[in-house]
């Protein structure tokens, strides 16, 4: 048990699609799971990021104050940080907001397209960053896995390699989009 690697998966500003592609490994996920302990993930009930995780897969770009805090903490406590998917790698669709910045977005959603009580929510919700940024602009990233989402086969290959203690090479396997 003790030599099993520890794994975490997190989502920042993405669509969950990269996580769904992880699940698309189907029975291969169950099979692989004998080789790791999933310590922290939307799929399990732990509420705080652990002190030490061998491998963390990050979906999504950095778009809010909370994302920023979160990814810094994750970097500090992670051995191998993997940017999973185009949003994490380039900002992708999440970064389309950068064409206008957060303010017009908030006004459209909470002032214009509303019937009652027009106002921008501020209680218990994090402020949006001026610019949506890819993960490696904020913290160092060890492995980049492109795709929107990366295919289940690609994720399987990446995970298998990492669990075996190797750095995956994705030439010819993974691509953007």
């Amino acid at each position: 048990m003790t030599d099993r690697k520890t794994l975490a998966t997190v989502w920042l500003d993405g669509c969950s699609g990269c996580h769904m592609s992880l699940l698309d490994m189907d029975e291969r996920l169950i099979e692989l799971s004998s080789q790791f302990v999933l310590l922290y993930s939307p799929l399990v009930d732990r509420k705080t990021f652990p002190e030490r995780v061998d491998v963390t897969l990050v979906e999504g770009a950095v778009a809010s104050e909370e994302d920023l805090k979160k990814i810094r903490r994750i970097r500090e406590h992670t051995g191998v940080l993997v940017s999973l998917g185009d949003c994490a790698l380039t900002g992708n669709v999440s970064a389309m907001r950068n064409t206008c910045g957060p303010q017009p977005v908030l006004l459209r959603v909470y002032q214009e397209n509303v019937d009652l009580k027009q106002h921008v929510p501020t209680v218990g919700v994090p402020a949006l960053l001026d610019r949506v940024r890819p993960v490696h602009e904020v913290v160092p990233v060890d492995v980049f896995v492109p795709g929107c989402p990366p295919s289940a086969d690609t994720i399987y290959q990446v995970l298998s390699e990492l669990l075996a203690g190797r750095v995956p090479t994705l030439g010819g396997v993974a691509h953007f989009g």
């Binding site: 509420k47 994302d67 389309m96 929510p121």
Partner: protein, 474 residues
């Protein structure tokens, strides 16, 4: 001493949300708030893009139900083209939409909620996951994996890719279905039906253990809303919107979804990025309604396929009026999976499904278009305005999960009042509060996409609001 409890993040949820509970001096929950803490802004940043990009851009709202967005968006674009798409294209989109429903319901039921159902709400948190169930309940976990895979494979076979396929386009779809693909899908159906029936079998027995939860898991009167076909039966792609009250009376029989803005309003609360839609004639909050599997089975005359109808009859016979507890969303989800699978089979059995004419071609003929479909979680509305060149000028999206926002908040309050009491707050009490949210299967990726990272904290505050003690759960 008054206290605030923060559950952050709510886990086993599609997207991250957090919950704040406010307790008074006597330790009674006075207020509950469900915060959705992210906003992505598709309604603004799509401006200036050509309308025909919208299906592919808006699919990126959600990787769990991208097909629902593809379908609703394509329908809004059909309206901008002012075309009636070829019947086979509509049927192909229907199959894709139903496959989406099956895989998404399987995710909700097996991957997210079944640990609570099989191990109990008080099971150790580290055991409450699908990976644990793969060891403790291998055959059930295997059914869950297989059913999600079934839906995803249909999408892959038809549209080329499991997540974010491009195949559904304005005017129809971009490629006809081949006989070989059809047969591959038909070949998968018997195993899927058997797995769903096995699941319904054990769930019906298991549910007896949850009578206490059924009582307080968002168990109160609300309206229900969903699409119906011209016979008043459950419909997921076309049709009119029906609204019923908690007694089962039809208060609006055939609302035209294209005119949603005349009968649905939206309200904003300061504590969440998710808005609160309501049925306008009854105002807010009186016009709060629920959508999704339970709503659809409550308001439709029946499903319209034999196996699902039998299940539907048994389900509805348990109550003389609509089922009001959101706990019943779980069973409704299973019945809908059966319904969808039977419907996929019926649609594919029709010879016309192989027709080659799958796309209507036109340019911009309307400056505005609304597209509506039933997503796994409920009614999904895309509304676009374009200029004469077809560039997007304005977008409004009313997302399935959003409709349930008011009911989710009230449901959290109801369950928290019942379970969260006293000096010692046990983990299982809080898991039940989260489990209420899970019954709705909210897709926060869609409804703005939420998240959170802080640990669960319980704060003891003095009457002046100063912090006396803080307890953290890791």
């Amino acid at each position: 001493m008054s206290r605030t409890i923060v559950i952050d993040p709510v886990t086993r949820l599609e997207g991250h949300g957090k919950i704040t509970l406010k307790l008074d001096d006597a330790g009674i929950v006075q207020d509950a708030m469900f915060h959705v803490t992210q906003l992505r802004g598709f309604e603004k940043f799509c401006e200036g893009r050509p309308f025909y990009e919208m299906p592919n851009i808006t699919a990126r709202i959600c990787g769990i139900c991208p097909v629902s967005h593809l379908v609703a968006s394509s329908k809004a674009c059909d309206a901008i083209l002012a075309v009636q798409i070829p019947p086979v294209a509509a049927n192909l989109r229907k199959v894709l939409n139903l496959a989406q429903l099956v895989q998404s319901h399987a995710l909700s039921f097996f991957y997210l909620s079944s640990p609570d159902l099989l191990l109990g709400m008080d099971a150790p948190p580290e055991e409450r996951s699908i990976l644990h169930l793969a060891h403790s309940h291998p055959s059930i976990a295997a059914d869950g994996v297989a059913l999600r895979q079934f839906g995803q494979r249909i999408i892959e076979i038809m549209a080329g890719k499991r997540i974010h396929p491009g195949w559904t386009i304005p005017g129809g779809v971009n490629e006809p279905l081949s006989a070989e693909k059809r047969d591959r899908i038909l070949g998968m159906i018997p195993l899927a039906v058997a797995a769903i029936q096995r699941t319904l079998g054990w769930f019906r027995k298991e549910i007896e253990k949850f009578s206490a939860e059924i009582e307080v898991f968002a168990n109160f009167p609300t309206l229900f809303m969903g699409l119906i076909d011209d016979r008043g039966l459950a419909e997921y792609y076309n049709g009119a919107l029906r609204v019923i009250d908690s007694e089962g009376n039809i208060i609006a029989g055939e609302l035209d979804p294209a005119h949603y803005a005349s009968f649905l309003g939206e309200e904003v609360e300061p504590f969440t990025y998710m808005k609160f839609p309501y049925y306008k004639p009854l105002g807010y909050p009186g016009g709060a309604y629920r959508v999704g599997p339970l709503a659809r089975l409550n308001l439709a005359g029946r499903c319209d396929t034999p196996l699902a109808d039998a299940e539907w009859r048994e389900f509805r016979a348990t109550s003389a009026r609509p089922l009001l507890s959101s706990f019943h969303y779980h069973q409704a989800r299973l019945i809908e999976m059966l319904h969808a699978t039977e419907k996929i089979e019926a649609l594919l059995a029709d010879k016309g499904i192989l027709d080659k004419h799958v796309r209507a071609i036109a340019s911009v003929n309307n400056s505005e278009g609304v597209g509506v479909a039933e997503a796994p979680r409920g009614t999904l509305i895309h509304h676009y305005k374009v200029d004469e060149n077809g560039l997007i000028r304005w977008v409004n999206l009313v997302i399935a999960t959003g409709h349930n926002n008011a009911a989710m908040n009230r449901g959290i309050l109801q369950a928290a009042r019942h379970y969260v009491q006293g000096e010692h707050i046990a983990e299982g009490m809080l898991n039940r509060v989260e489990a209420v949210v899970r019954t709705f299967d909210p897709c926060l990726s869609c409804s703005t996409h939420a998240m959170g990272q802080m640990p669960l904290t319980v704060e003891l505050r003095a009457p002046d609001g100063s912090l006396v003690r803080e307890v953290r759960r890791g």
